[in-house]
Symmetry: C2
Subunit: 427 residues, 2 copies
């Protein structure tokens, strides 16, 4: 048995607002940041559990303090029973009767729980010598459903139905692992489309995206319709008819405004429309989805928890489900969401970018392909080429596809030098 001896948090901020990387209609000047957690044990292997919550700057100190508040659940506790029951750990945190008041299951406290749970996944994967995607892909269906909390899901997905979904894919998992190892997984790129970029930069980066093998790009919209029409025309002219163009309004519109704006941009052939309005608004997303069909609505990076995703699926309010690696309460809750998507037959195309989100979320898509949906059809992971150099195991993109990582762990671990250089102390 070993015990957790260190539970350290950091407020890591990268000054990305200086270059307008990551700029969109709601987020004009983000400073990509990580409320970072490092867990150490007294085991002789020296292995650590790393994780973080992605934020965009101000408030990263608040997110850090929420993670730090979870230290009593970990410091001094035995590691092995926790790693053997990460579903139980999840419930002990999410249903802590006092902490729950701070959400419930949403916002700063919920994301902090996600970071704590994910650090334990990182440690478990390192102990087993496997990347998280492969660790998850080796778990049998019973252990996987044991990680998921089915409370509040039973009107859409029961434990038995989840078991059936997983069992149906189990015998063919090995072939999909081989396929991932040889061919990777599709990506699309948001690099060309930030709102702060000039037309020249948009065209140049769109051209480079095609040269680099991407089959889809994404363009930020929603600040000014005439600007959007001009930029969409430039992008479509540059890319030709066969490359997908998704648009992302980052919650900018009202319900009716969304429908009018999307209708005006529809002639440019839209792969999907992302975050047309407030991310809590299931009913407006459903109305927009009906109005703009067959163009699919995509959302999820601000989806607070599995109950919100359940409703978006029940209401047919999204056609592309975008999980995020650090918004919900960790890998466990994202497994629940992947199972819900499979039950409803909706494709999952994760949100990534930011800092480290590509490194994390790829594991979930690979696991989904191996064990849950069994398909790459219409599925792709967002890719943005920022800040990967700070990670010990940066994502590798070749010909527009993610290559699978082979290092053990979750992908969260930053270089110590990066943590040191970009950490600040506000408290």
């Amino acid at each position: 048995m070993s015990k957790i001896t260190v539970f350290e948090t950091y407020d890591v901020r990268f000054p990305t607002s200086q270059t307008l990387d990551g700029s969109d209609a709601m987020n004009p000047d983000p400073d990509y940041s990580a409320a970072y957690l490092r867990i150490r044990t007294d085991a002789s292997d020296g292995l650590e559990g790393h994780s973080f919550v992605f934020t965009i700057g101000r408030g990263n100190d608040v997110q850090r303090s929420a993670i730090r508040a979870l230290a009593p659940w970990f410091l001094g506790h035995e590691v092995e029973p926790m790693l053997a029951d990460l579903g139980g750990l999840w419930k002990s945190l999410v249903y802590d009767s006092q902490l729950r008041w701070l959400g419930p299951e949403k916002g700063v406290m919920h994301m902090a729980i996600g970071a704590a749970v994910n650090a334990m996944w990182d440690l478990r994967a390192k102990r087993e010598g496997l990347p998280v995607w492969l660790l998850l892909s080796k778990l049998d269906p019973e252990e996987l459903v044991g990680l998921v909390d089915f409370r509040y899901l039973s009107d859409a997905l029961t434990r038995a139905e989840a078991l059936d979904i997983l069992a149906a894919r189990q015998s063919t998992r090995a072939a999909r692992v081989d396929h991932l190892l040889s061919d990777g997984y599709p990506a699309y790129t948001t690099t060309p489309g930030w709102l702060g970029y000039s037309d020249e930069k948009l065209v140049r980066l769109s051209r480079e995206a095609v040269e680099n093998g991407f089959n889809q790009i994404k363009i930020k919209v929603g600040a000014d319709l005439q600007d959007d029409v001009r930029r969409m025309r430039l992008a479509r002219e540059t890319l030709g008819p066969s490359i997908g163009i998704a648009i992302d309004a980052n919650q900018r519109w009202e319900r009716r405004e969304a429908i009018e704006w999307i209708t005006a941009l529809a002639p440019f052939d839209l792969a999907w429309v992302e975050e047309p309005t407030n991310p809590d608004d299931v009913l407006s997303h459903a109305a927009i989805a009906r109005a703009i069909a067959p163009i699919p609505v995509a959302t999820g990076e601000h989806g607070a928890n599995r109950v919100m995703f359940k409703q978006f699926l029940q209401a047919e309010a999204l056609g592309v489900l975008q999980i995020d690696a650090t918004r919900v309460a960790g890998i466990n809750e994202n497994i629940a969401i992947l199972l819900l998507a499979a039950k409803f037959g909706v494709r999952v195309c994760p949100h990534a970018g930011g800092v480290g989100l590509c490194e994390l979320v790829q594991h979930l898509s690979f696991f989904d392909y191996v064990a849950v949906s069994g398909s790459q059809e219409g599925r792709m992971i967002e890719y943005v080429d920022h800040l990967h150099e700070h990670f010990r195991d940066p994502v590798v993109i070749e010909s527009g596809r993610y290559r699978v990582p082979s290092r053990p762990g979750s992908g969260a671990e930053m270089w110590g030098e990066s943590i040191e250089q970009y950490s600040i102390e506000l408290l």
Copy 2:
């Protein structure tokens, strides 16, 4: 002109778990707490702005750190322009492009914004020498709609519709102010119904509730059906047929379970069923509401923001809307929610209890009666007789009705001695 010179926060915790006051099926052992804020200025009047976020113990330090993170928006800033445009202040905080990522508009960061905004309301009311309810009741409709953010509401309520609602009540406001001053506002009591209480205590407190003039009590349910049947029978036998009994499951049930459980308790004549399931689950609440009609569903104490309330109303998922004084982003957002309720013709019966929630939320119901709904019919404010002694202006209940407070301010101000005695330092 004066400037804000002090922005102090406190982690105030009362050890209520020792007596099982406040115990329910999801919250067995709350320690009622306040992440407390005190703002001081360099004005010669010496007036201060006080506010807090109510929590139930662990994590109150996280809530406090979120409030503290807002200090740069206040410290050193001029007071008068802020007080003259509290709608603008609200938007500058809620739409801060970086902070917004931490919600958006939910959880710890959103509640912190509420505390900061409410402290300025407290200060403004003290400067004008009015309790907040009367200050609000004196604002003309134009100023009131200027406090509200209609973004994401336009599919349910426009600024023009809100103006119409307010204008229709304006000429008759004075009579309702007089009525409040003479007769107060109806209350109901949750004091008898905590889950941790013995049958004997339930019966005794139920009898006392009637003797004290209350026309409705509330009983916590959801842990064990046979216990609930026994307790409901005891309560109904004690109270007779003419006193209302609401039940509160505190999110305990799944959709189908809720319908079955409520059906089993329906013979005892239920005034409403509160929080039957997860508070984010609009669609399940709507299904439960259809199944148990005409018994109304009540919810709101965990309603994260105005967009969630909008959907509950659009989906007919609640029949009793329970605003909470410190869950959403302050008085401004609660005005938006009161306007939405008026638009949909749904009665508002606030959540209170906790520590200080009665003191705060009464102002919103009084304002609603004077200027928004114009009615007390079917409306009542929750009352629990705990911890009022810590407040400078404790609520006064007579014959089952709230008497209006006359001291200037919002009701949030605790005695300095209470703050000092119950504050802890975790950071």
